[in-house]
C-alpha cells in the first residue's frame, strides 16, 4: 500500500502542489433482514477504491476511481490536479491550509469476536428466532429483525509525510413489530428504531443486545398502542428517553456546531446554522445542566476511530459546558480561520467522497438524577421513547420530533400510554428548559448510522451518549 500512495504523492510533489493527500479505502458489509419469518434480504457488499485531494495555488480538486492500477492512479491524480488548477484561476479567495507535523500510526477497533467470522447461518438463526417471538402475537402484521456487520480498512497518506492505517469494525442489530388496524399503523422497536443500535464493536455487541428477549414486549406494546389515547396537545413537561434524546442531540446540537455549516459551505444542501463563530464562549446554548462533549475516543461509540481523514488524532473536546457554547466541530482548514487547531472531525463516506466535518460521538454528559426521581418530581407531563420521525429547519432552529410511544405523567407517576406523540421547539429555548439529566446508571451510547450531509451525498456513522433528561414548557401533540 505504501508504494501505491507514494507513487501518487510523488506525482503531486512534481507538480509542486500546496498539499495533497490520498485515501485508499476497502469496505465490506454483510446485512441480513428477516421479515414475517422469511428472508427479506441477505447481502454481502465490497467496495474498493482511492481518492486524491489536491490543493494547488489555493484551490481544491478531488478525483477518485475504483480501478487501482498504475495507469488509472496517474490519470486520477491528473484529473484532481487539473480541477484544482482550473479552480485556482478564478478563485476569488485563495484557500489557506495550515501545515501539520507528519503522523505515522495504525489504529484498529478493539473487538472480541470478528462479526465476519460468525457464519451467516448463526446470524440468521438469531434473527429468525427473534422474529418468531414477535409473531407469536397474532395481532402483529409485520415482524422484522435486522443484523448488519461492517468493516473498513483505510490508508491515509499526505505530502506532509503522514501515513495512517485504520481498521474499523462496526455491527448492530434490532427488531420491530408493526400493527395495522383501522387505518392506523403503530410500531415498536428494540433497542432502537430504524434497524436497531450500532457500535464500533465486534459480534459481542450483537449478543449483548439480546434481541430475542424483547420480542414479546414490543409486540404487546405495539398492540396496546392501537387502543391508547392520542397524545394530548398543549404545553407540558417532557422527559425523553436516551434513544430519542440521542437524535435530539444529533439534530439540534450536533449539526449546528459543525463549522462548515456555520461558514456557509453546506448552504446549498443541508443548510447553515443559527450559530456564528463569535458565539463561542458567549452563548448560553442550554441550561447549566447541559454538558456536551465531542468524543471520538469513547470505546464502542459508532463515531469512534483513531484519526480523522486529515490525519488528525481522535480527541475528546468539550462543546457545551454548563450550558455555554465553548467549542465547535472543526477541520484543519476551518479551524485555521478561527486561529485554532482542528479537533479531528473530517471524515469521508468511503474512497469516493471528500472528507467533511462530521460528528464523532456527540455526548450529553450524565447528570445526577435517577429516572425515577425525574418522574416523581414531575406533577404533569409526558415520558416519550424511541424516535419515529424527525424534522428541523435549515438553520437548526425549529424542530419537530415524533416517537413510537409515550406515557402520561400525573402527580409524579407514570400513567397511561399515549400514541402518536409529537413535540416541537426552538433549539436554544428547548435546551435552556432542561432542568434534569439522569445519572451514569441510565447513560448509554446510541449509534446513528444514517447521518446525511454533503454533495454528492455522504452517510456518516456517528454516536451519541445520552441519559434521559427533563425539559419544561414544551409544546406537545403538534397540530
Amino acid at each position: 500500500m505504501k508504494d501505491l500512495v507514494e507513487n501518487i504523492l510523488n506525482l503531486a510533489r512534481l507538480k509542486k502542489v500546496d498539499y495533497a493527500d490520498v485515501r485508499i479505502v476497502r469496505r465490506q458489509k454483510e446485512e441480513i433482514a428477516v421479515k414475517n419469518g422469511e428472508m427479506e434480504a441477505l447481502t454481502w457488499d465490497e467496495d474498493f477504491g482511492f481518492g486524491i485531494r489536491v490543493l494547488f495555488q489555493g484551490a481544491w480538486g478531488f478525483a477518485c476511481s475504483s480501478k487501482v492500477d498504475k495507469k488509472e492512479r496517474e490519470k486520477t491524480f491528473h484529473r484532481a490536479w487539473k480541477i484544482s488548477r482550473e479552480g485556482s484561476r478564478i478563485q476569488p479567495k485563495k484557500i489557506s491550509f495550515p501545515h501539520a507535523p507528519p503522523v505515522v500510526a495504525r489504529y484498529q477497533t478493539p473487538i472480541s469476536v470478528n462479526p465476519f467470522r460468525v457464519s451467516p447461518e448463526t446470524k440468521l438463526k438469531l434473527l429468525l428466532e427473534a422474529d418468531a417471538v414477535i409473531r407469536r402475537n397474532k395481532k402483529v402484521k409485520i415482524s422484522e429483525a435486522f443484523l448488519g456487520a461492517y468493516q473498513t480498512e483505510k490508508t491515509f497518506a499526505s505530502t506532509e509525510g503522514s501515513f495512517v492505517e485504520q481498521g474499523i469494525v462496526e455491527c448492530g442489530a434490532g427488531i420491530s413489530a408493526t400493527v395495522i388496524e383501522g387505518g392506523e399503523i403503530q410500531v415498536q422497536s428494540y433497542p432502537n428504531s430504524f434497524r436497531g443500535n450500532f457500535a464500533t464493536q465486534g459480534y459481542e455487541w450483537v449478543e449483548e443486545l439480546k434481541i430475542g428477549s424483547h420480542g414479546e414486549r414490543i409486540a404487546e406494546e405495539a398492540v396496546q398502542l392501537l387502543s391508547a389515547k392520542p397524545c394530548p396537545s398543549g404545553i407540558t413537561t417532557l422527559i425523553l428517553d436516551g434513544s430519542q434524546l440521542a437524535l435530539q442531540v444529533h439534530e439540534s446540537i450536533g449539526h449546528p456546531i459543525e463549522l462548515d455549516r456555520i461558514l456557509g459551505t453546506e448552504a446549498s444542501y443541508a443548510g447553515t446554522s443559527f450559530l456564528k463563530p463569535k458565539r463561542v464562549d458567549d452563548f448560553q446554548f442550554g441550561s447549566e445542566k447541559v454538558n456536551i462533549v465531542a468524543d471520538a475516543t469513547f470505546p464502542g461509540g459508532l463515531g469512534t476511530s483513531g484519526f480523522d481523514d486529515e490525519g488528525v488524532k481522535a480527541q475528546r473536546v468539550p462543546i457545551i459546558s454548563r450550558g455555554k457554547l465553548v467549542n465547535l466541530l472543526t477541520s484543519r482548514e476551518t479551524a485555521f480561520l478561527l486561529g485554532k487547531e482542528s479537533n479531528g472531525t473530517m471524515r469521508a463516506d468511503g474512497w469516493n467522497r471528500l472528507p467533511l466535518i462530521r460528528m464523532t460521538n456527540i455526548n450529553l454528559e450524565p447528570g445526577e438524577w435517577t429516572l425515577e426521581q425525574m418522574i416523581t418530581g414531575t406533577e404533569e407531563g409526558l415520558f416519550l421513547s424511541t424516535n419515529r420521525s424527525w424534522s428541523i429547519d435549515d438553520q437548526r432552529i425549529n424542530f419537530q420530533f415524533g416517537t413510537e410511544v409515550g406515557w402520561e405523567i400525573k402527580a409524579g407517576k407514570l400513567g397511561g400510554m399515549v400514541k402518536n406523540p409529537t413535540y416541537t421547539g426552538i433549539t436554544p429555548q428547548f435546551w435552556n428548559s432542561c432542568d434534569a439529566v439522569a445519572n451514569r446508571d441510565h447513560w448509554q451510547m446510541w449509534g446513528t448510522p444514517n447521518c446525511g450531509k454533503g454533495e454528492p451525498g455522504q452517510v456518516a456513522h456517528v454516536g451519541h451518549g445520552t441519559a434521559p433528561a427533563r425539559f419544561r414548557n414544551v409544546r406537545v401533540g403538534v397540530k
Binding site: W44, A59, C64, I83, K141, S268, G271, D393, I397, P456
Partner: protein, 451 residues
C-alpha cells in the same frame, strides 16, 4: 464507460457460469463531477469513476445478493461462489416466483454528447458567470453544479438483456440577501437546455423582498410551487403508490381503489417514457417501464409492481424494480402530476390572504396511513394579500396530511417543471418529478422558525 457490447458480454459470461437456478447481473457505471460554490470559493470540486456489479442468485426460492466494484475475473469468480454459498444456507423466500422474462425494450435517447463539453474549466467559468450575475444585484450565492454519465446494464438467465446510457446535469442555486434567500434548480439530460441568465434571475427575484416578517401558525390558503408539490408527490410514492405497501396493508390505498380520495383536479402517474421527464426505458430488473396511474380525476387507481410483488399476485411487473436487494418496495421514481388549466399569475391574483411556498426542507412522516408529514419552508416563502405577493415571511413549519391538502386543491397550473433534489447517496442515478404549481385551501402551518 464500458459500452454496450463489452458490458453485455461481461454480464452474459457471468450468467453463463452461474450454477444457480436463476441469476441476474446488474452493472452500473458512473463518470461524474460535482462542484460546490460559495460567494468566495469553489470549495469542493470532485470527480468520480466507479463501476458497481450487483449479482442476484436464486437457488429455488433461496436468494442472495452480492455487490462488488472489484471487477477482475478472479474477483468475479469469488463473488459468484460467495453468492451461491449465502443462498444455500438460508430458508426459502416463499414470495419469490421468478426473475422477469425478457420483453421488448423501447428505444429512446437518454444520452446527450454535449455534456462532454463540461470540462473543469467550462464548469468553473459557468460558476463564475453565476456568481457575477448574483453579485451585480448586490447578493451572494451558494450552489452546486453536477453532471454525469451513467450506464445501466441488466442481464438475467431467462434472457433479459438491457443496456442504456444516460447523461445528467443538475444545478441548484441559493441566493442570499443577508435577511432571506431565493432558490432555483435545473435538471436535464441535455446541456443545451441550460440558460444561465434567466435561471439565475429566478433565484435573485425571490431574494429581493427585504426582511421577512413573522406570520402566526395556522391554516392558510397556499400556492405551492412545483418543487414543493414534488415533495408531497414523492412522499405519496414512498408511502402508498406501490404494491408492497398495499400487500402489507400499510398503504393509504388499502380498501380505497376505485374511490375518490383527492380533488378531481388531481391526476398523478408514473411514466418512465414521457419525454417531459427524465426518461428511463427499463427498471433495475431489465423490465420495460409501463405508465401507471395512481390518481385519475382524484380516484385511486393502480400501484407499481416489481417482479417480487407481481409474483405474489400472479401478475406482471410494471417495470418499477429498484436496485436489489430492495426492501422498500417498487417505489415509483418517474412521477408526474397532470397540469391544470390555470396560470400561476391568475392563481396568485385569486388569493385574498395566503402563503406562497417555493420549496420544503427536511420533510418526514408523522402518521403514515393518514399521509401526515411535517417539514419546513425554505428559500422563498411569501405573504400574499389581495392577489399580490407582498413580502417574504419567516420560514414556517407545516404538519399536514398530503391527501387532505390534495383534497383541497382549488387550482392546478398549466405549466409544469421537472424537479429533483439532485441527491446522490451511494450510486448515481438521478430521478426527476414533473409537477405543476397548485393552489390549496386550509394548509396547516404548525410553527415558525424564529429565535
Amino acid at each position: 464507460m464500458i459500452r454496450r457490447e463489452a458490458g453485455l458480454k461481461m454480464l452474459k459470461k457471468l450468467i453463463h457460469e452461474s450454477p444457480a437456478d436463476q441469476t441476474e447481473a446488474l452493472l452500473l457505471t458512473e463518470d461524474s463531477s460535482l462542484a460546490r460554490f460559495t460567494p468566495t470559493a469553489i470549495h469542493q470540486h470532485v470527480a468520480e469513476r466507479n463501476w458497481t456489479l450487483i449479482l442476484r442468485v436464486a437457488l429455488g426460492k433461496r436468494i442472495a445478493v452480492v455487490t462488488t466494484n472489484i471487477l477482475q475475473p478472479s474477483s468475479l469468480k469469488t463473488l459468484m461462489q460467495k453468492a451461491i454459498s449465502l443462498a444455500k444456507n438460508q430458508p426459502p423466500n416463499e414470495s419469490f416466483v421468478s426473475l422477469p422474462e425478457p420483453k421488448p425494450i423501447p428505444e429512446i435517447n437518454t444520452f446527450f454528447n454535449n455534456i462532454r463539453r463540461l470540462t473543469p474549466m467550462r464548469k468553473v467559468k459557468t460558476i463564475q458567470e453565476i456568481l457575477s450575475l448574483v453579485k451585480e444585484k448586490g447578493f451572494s450565492a451558494s450552489g452546486a453544479f453536477s453532471h454525469g454519465e451513467v450506464e445501466l446494464i441488466v442481464v438475467n438467465s431467462l434472457g433479459v438483456e438491457a443496456y442504456q446510457k444516460f447523461s445528467d446535469l443538475f444545478l441548484h442555486l441559493i441566493v442570499q440577501n443577508g435577511k432571506g434567500s431565493g432558490y432555483a434548480s435545473f435538471i436535464s439530460r441535455d446541456l443545451d437546455q441550460l440558460q444561465i441568465e434567466p435561471w439565475v434571475k429566478t433565484a435573485v427575484t425571490k431574494a429581493q423582498g427585504g426582511s421577512p416578517v413573522q406570520v402566526e401558525p395556522g391554516e392558510y390558503e397556499v400556492i405551492l410551487e412545483p418543487e414543493a408539490v414534488r415533495e408531497l408527490m414523492v412522499f405519496l410514492g414512498y408511502l402508498g403508490f406501490h404494491a408492497l405497501a398495499v400487500q402489507e396493508g400499510r398503504s393509504f390505498f388499502c380498501n380505497e381503489f376505485g374511490k375518490k380520495m383527492v380533488h378531481e383536479k388531481v391526476t398523478i402517474y408514473d411514466d418512465g417514457l414521457d419525454p417531459q421527464g427524465l426518461q428511463v426505458p427499463f427498471d433495475f430488473e431489465g423490465v420495460p417501464k409501463q405508465k401507471v396511474i395512481f390518481f385519475e380525476g382524484g380516484v385511486a387507481k393502480n400501484v407499481t409492481y416489481d417482479s417480487l410483488t407481481a409474483g405474489k399476485e400472479g401478475r406482471e411487473s410494471t417495470g418499477h424494480g429498484l436496485i436489489p436487494p430492495n426492501t422498500e418496495g417498487p417505489i415509483p421514481i418517474n412521477l408526474f402530476m397532470q397540469g391544470g388549466d390555470s396560470h400561476l399569475e391568475e392563481m396568485i391574483r385569486s388569493v385574498r390572504r395566503g402563503i406562497y411556498v417555493t420549496r420544503f426542507h427536511y420533510t418526514n412522516v408523522v402518521e403514515p396511513m393518514k399521509t401526515v408529514i411535517t417539514g419546513m419552508t425554505r428559500d422563498g416563502t411569501f405573504w400574499i394579500e389581495e392577489g399580490e405577493i407582498k413580502n417574504p415571511v419567516k420560514n414556517l413549519r407545516f404538519t399536514e396530511s398530503v391527501l387532505k391538502a390534495l383534497s383541497r386543491v382549488k387550482a392546478v397550473s398549466q405549466g409544469r417543471k421537472i424537479c429533483s433534489s439532485g441527491s446522490v447517496y451511494g450510486r448515481r442515478f438521478i430521478n426527476g418529478t414533473v409537477a405543476p404549481a397548485i393552489q390549496a385551501d386550509g394548509f396547516n402551518f404548525s410553527g415558525v422558525s424564529s429565535l
